[in-house]
Symmetry: D2
Subunit: 385 residues, 4 copies
């Protein structure tokens, strides 16, 4: 029997972390063949060139697709998606996969979904059913309605996908593959590398060994004009703190320029003494950095997801993670410098939380590969009500 060809499309650095353990399991599975497509910002230096990490991890791309239109505004996001549909259609047409896997909710993931669904290729959606409240949510649920098989990350999400009219047999809670990576590094007692030495970055050379915070704040798409305002609140709050902070640049969504420019200007003018900036980091090293940090600040989903398992306190800013299932380690705070300052200071000095498995037990990747190998793959469905 020929192996099932599973085509996974990775379009951004964070998506890679969310799928890596599944990629490993698919590649290792005796009856599966992995067809990895690297596309979008995952190919771009400006966004950390995930392709480099991916290839260093031993994966080989079956195709690479440049599709990100410059401009970082809602108009170019839409056009990027259109280009993605055109390009990925070609890719799938030539690769002839037995199933296509699309990940989560980034704007360009719907390009993968359309290219597969319209060509009658069974579409598997990872991480459907979650709730955030921005354009991401429109995209995520639209992906659900285009997909044939749903591998979700929590019971909460599973219930929601079923309510969306999907056949319960086609909605399986595998846990989130991102937790697999967390589990992998979770037993390491100390941070086993020097972040500044290994990753360079810009800004002060910090003495982080006695405890540090991490910041990662992305623009919120539907309010992108406010991105600059929001980031300044965080910058002002962080700048007042007396402990070292590692700060990560935002990803490629609309408004990234607002956020990036905010950071750049602040750096030039204020020259903050306690912040060191990174463009990107190997995903495992990033998790290590998180695990050994005192607090994560920002609106990254890593705060909601990975940190639940790690038990690291999180100061979650604004609306980006609204309504996403969260553990007790998360404190929600609005974009106000005083509130941010207080919450981060308090979290920094608080204890770690116990492990929570709301997003999985750390074996999602293997579970996903097994399901892809054994479940019936179809591309025809109808709503359940």
């Amino acid at each position: 029997m020929p192996k099932r060809k599973i085509c996974v499309v990775v379009t951004a650095r964070p998506s890679y972390s969310r799928i890596k353990s599944a990629l490993t399991a698919i590649k290792a599975h005796p009856t599966l063949e992995l067809q990895l497509v690297i596309a979008g910002s995952a190919l771009l230096d400006r966004y950390g060139n995930a392709a480099d990490f991916i290839e260093r991890d031993g994966f080989k791309a079956a195709a690479k697709v440049f599709m990100v239109l410059e401009g970082e505004n809602p108009t170019t996001m839409a056009k990027t998606t259109g280009i993605g549909v055109m390009e990925l259609t070609n890719v799938f047409y030539n690769l002839q996969p037995d199933a296509v896997v699309t990940i989560a909710d980034r704007f360009e993931t719907i390009a993968t979904s359309i290219a597969a669904a319209y060509q009658n290729i069974p579409l598997v959606h990872i991480q459907g059913g979650e709730v955030t409240g921005s354009i991401d949510e429109k995209v995520r649920h639209a992906n659900t309605k285009l997909a044939d098989l749903h591998l979700v990350s929590s019971e909460d999400a599973r219930g929601r996908v079923i309510k969306l009219g999907e056949d319960p047999e086609k909605v399986i809670n595998t846990g989130c593959p991102s937790i697999d990576l967390v589990k992998e590094i979770c037993t390491e007692e100390n941070l086993n590398f020097d972040p500044i030495e290994k990753y360079g970055g810009v800004g002060e050379d910090l003495d982080w060994k006695k405890g540090y915070a991490v910041v990662m704040q992305h623009p919120v798409t539907t309010e992108y004009k406010k991105a600059r305002e929001h980031i300044l609140e965080t910058l002002e709050a962080i700048n007042k703190l007396d402990f070292p902070v590692f700060w990560f640049w935002p990803n490629v969504d609309a408004g990234s320029d607002g956020t990036s420019n905010g950071i750049r200007t602040f750096r030039e003018m204020v020259k903050p003494k306690n912040i060191h900036f990174f463009k990107n980091m190997d995903p495992l090293d990033f998790l290590r950095l998180l695990k050994h940090s005192r607090v994560l600040v920002g609106n990254s989903s890593a705060g909601i997801r990975e940190c639940s398992y790690l038990g690291v306190p999180v100061v979650n800013l604004g609306t980006r993670q609204n309504r996403r299932l969260r553990g007790k380690n998360v404190k929600d705070v609005p974009h106000q410098r005083d509130r941010i300052y207080e919450a981060v200071k308090e979290a920094f000095h608080s204890d770690k939380h116990p492990i929570s498995q709301i997003y999985g037990d750390g074996d999602a990747g293997i579970r996903i590969a097994e399901i892809l190998a054994t479940s019936e793959l179809s591309f025809s469905k109808t709503i359940s009500y």
Copy 2:
């Protein structure tokens, strides 16, 4: 106060009939400005060039967009959609509408939805919530998840859109605007034109005045290789009947070639005596032709929708209209020549059914315009559960 700019995208001939009365009402409304975009197969001679009808009806296009890639297969459908996203994004960027209206469930309608939703333009979806069971259904429900305001055609559909997690206040049963056209011609006692004289077409010159049937059969996208087989069953059945039949060529979905070639070959070889073929017809004339016919055969949604109000018997073939809400005038029959033959013969000699308002009372257009003029327009939403 400036008028609200309402951008309606018409991508195909049948979509025009479904929205025409709403276009008229929007154009006439004192606080609305209509921005009409004509795109896709609505511009192409091969598919009846709806643009001609539209302009003859007094509407002016704010933009025209060629986007249909040749090939009529699943691959070109997907790529057409990608091109549509790119092009329509430009169009909306330049027109700056206050809301965009997308219609129903054709594959390319999701291009309209993405181009609007990603640019934070409030998206209004007409005719969501219905059920069919093919790729159309994936597209329709994905449109629902991208849309902010849902103007549905039946109570049945309204319930389904709400179940999909939409805010009930944003889901309004206006009835279907296609019924408005039906109401308009419904009082005419006889067919007031000679179809062959007015529309030419090819095939026999029929004596239709003593009663005739109409056939309209589209390929079913996810089974497009069977299109030829299916159409031959219908052709064989119809060819055996002893009354005149008007037959309409299918639209542009994948497999259209299978269907079209089937018809073309049958014509060349069998030279059927009782069939006359049309490429297209003014939508009102088409309704007139339906109203005065004895039976409609095929899988057109007109059989489900318009014929419910008209009370014309329908022999509905195959799965294309599966699970769509239907009146008592519809008889479902598989793609088997004998079953088709029997059903059509029986329906031809049966009586008309009474008017049914399951798809509206004939005032949907005015209702839609009023809602677009007065309801709050937003582009931010979250799932209700």
Copy 3:
């Protein structure tokens, strides 16, 4: 030493005939690897699906690219070219050829040229330097200016490419590969197949064994509104003749609809008794049909090129082949039915001409493969004056 990878892009049925012998020679060459890309109308049933012929001839496509936008007007021709640039760029990026071959002058060939030249892949242009006077000529000479190596079909063309500022060492007269096919069938004494039996087609069943004519008339792009008028002149002239005629449908250029509709309407209304219509034919069979015909009528380049070697009389209509180098077998006639009628009648009853080698000696394919294997490949050049 690894083989040189030679990527040849075939975008239309006639281009395939023009390159077939070179494809065979490249495939057979010990130090070359053929990467065949089939694109554009070569994939479409409406234009004779050259892909079928190509694969039946034993070639395997490295990639297939759907890129023809529907509409057949100047706007869709331009957009098709844009799509082609996007798609072919991807294809070359993934195939990493050592050289790309673009053929002649069809509008979409410039897409191949841009995709290669911009990616610094050495570009080989076949059949540059010829003159016609329409948009084709703009495209052909623009291809020359983007190309690095020029394999031309005649001394006349070689001189012109050099005048265009190209390095004479990079301009080589190989002869036209289309003549290779002609040479191959040139010794066959009789037509060894029954065209109607083998290819079907529509129209009268002709008794062609005592002599027949062939017609092939394409729309002239920059005058596409006149296409219908022009084709009617030819149809009227041919209809008056008293010998059998095989007529081929036009290719995909803008205005094809004018020409096609002209033919279709004429058929329906006039029902010509002496004409049989074909959509397409295996290229070798087409040459056989030409070789044994009494006269070729129309504006096909086959009249100028293949028929010079065959010695078949040609009645060449209108401006499409203007200024192309021609043999003594060609008589130029304007689009006037009387003039056409007289010229065709006279040619039909005249003798064959002797073989002319102005377009090559029949060994172009082997010569091209050898040059591709041995010449220096570069992508950097400057004008010679």
Copy 4:
């Protein structure tokens, strides 16, 4: 009589300077209507957002087109061009201009040429016939072969376009419109603004009043991997000089990242004391800065063109301006730090050169407008030999 609609496409900041005086003259002309299209990097903040300057100068865009694909490599340059063809075709289809103007030789200008030529719109090419030796040259001459009217900048260029087979009556030496701007500011005795105060930028606050140099170095497309190496040679040379230097960031060609990263790294690590960096400047202010500088260093065409009229000494680096007609003010130097250092030092202390009119007398804009208003516009041509 309706005005002639002249559509000018500006795709980059430097192109705007090259056409500005013509835009002014077209806008002011009684029988012309200007349709200005702003596209490509001219819309992007990263490349100086020329759109802002353009609108501040009182021009209004008839359309804006986002088309630059991220990645800045040969592959994305090619795909950007494909997107440009698609988009600009739409734009011209909707604007229906009487002529389209394309400028010079940037890779994306061929998109304008194809979109116009294929739609049978007369195409006017500005600044054809020049020689450089990179991909630009392929593009420029291909533009010439697609264009119908050639408005060139020098007698040298005129001769070359005619040799390319263009009708001498269609090749007019108007001089270069960029010289018009030079003439405009040429009488100002001192720099009438403080560059750092007005434009910010980053780096040292220099005392420039006693004499300064300007640097502008772009990556050379076909050698883009060397971009970083080349820029470092220049940075090292300039860093050793003892006078102040204003340095401009490169534009959007492939390799820009190599160049930009080279500069960025050098800044972080070396912190040069005598260099101040600008992203961009109002074109007139840039000319003022040039006029009052002691020397221009780099490979910008401004050194060849504008500085010939200004008489400012130029140290021209590498191959980018190879074979372009130049005045006596230009000294050519390879990418070697010592050679650069010596040449810049010598030029800094040398005298100005007299005005040269090899690129025009400063009235090109008015001449261009008049020609566009009065010359016959056609889209049909054939090569002259």
